[in-house]
């Protein structure tokens, strides 16, 4: 049971750093994401730096970690096993792309905005 508590605490900490990164990067704001996706408009390349910064850590980090036999707090890695490029992958990703382009919210910022949106709006309406 101690390891369950450890994994829960680790997830809380990782979520916290993730949320911090989302807000610092400016990607909580759909208008900024649309500014990147709008390559024919007044293009804002910030998202390249966000993805680039994240991959600078995840690429070498994942490589090093997956050489190990197991994660620190669990018995095994829980990784996707599918390898084939099937229709659900392509169709689902395309549908996600349409929705992302329509509004500018992908799941991370959408979840954060759902949880904090009313607070943020109430804060800004007092100005």
């Amino acid at each position: 049971m101690a390891s369950v508590a450890g994994r829960t605490l680790a997830a809380l900490g990782c979520g916290l750093v993730f949320g911090l990164g989302l807000t610092v990067s400016g990607m909580m704001n759909p208008a900024k994401v649309i500014g990147f996706l709008d390559v024919a408009g007044d293009w804002d390349p910030t998202l390249v730096f966000v993805m680039g910064g994240a991959l600078l850590v995840t690429l070498p980090g994942y490589r090093a970690i997956l050489k190990g036999r197991r994660p620190v707090l669990a018995n095994s890695f829980s990784l996707p096993t599918k390898k084939s490029l099937d229709a659900p992958l392509i169709l689902g990703s395309a549908l996600f792309g349409v929705g992302w382009g329509l509004v500018g919210f992908c799941p991370g910022p959408a979840v954060a905005a759902l949880g904090l949106g009313s607070l943020r709006y109430s804060g800004s309406s007092e100005q």
């Binding site: 994994r7 680039g52 329509l102």
Partner: protein
Amino acid sequence: MEDFTPVSGLVGGLLIGLAVTLMLLLNGRIAGISGIVGGLLTPKGGDTGWRVAFIVGLLIGALAYILAVEGPAPVEVLASPTAILAGGLLVGFGTRLGSGCTSGHGLCGMARISRRSIVATAVFFGVAMLTVFLTRHIF
């Protein structure tokens, strides 16, 4: 390009990358938001706590930055209510059908050099750019 903020973008990206990497190091899990939230809708025994904890942490992290540093950051949604409804449904359905989103495929999958994730990332970035082009410059 007055809104271009490369430094805060890079710092935020490094933090997101750190969170995703720690999640694999400690729990052995992919930190994909659509997968973490989606797993809550089909709960399995003992598989719920860490998901809730991650989402709570995400909210605390975002809130902490807003309160401590920046004040209420802008959340500017330019889309119409109809487009928001349609967009939300498409993002939810699409990421579940496609097994991932910007974090799961774009960061975790790309870091594993997964062929599925590289293709998925190219598709959703390309289609999103096309959608913005069509809605902003054509219609």
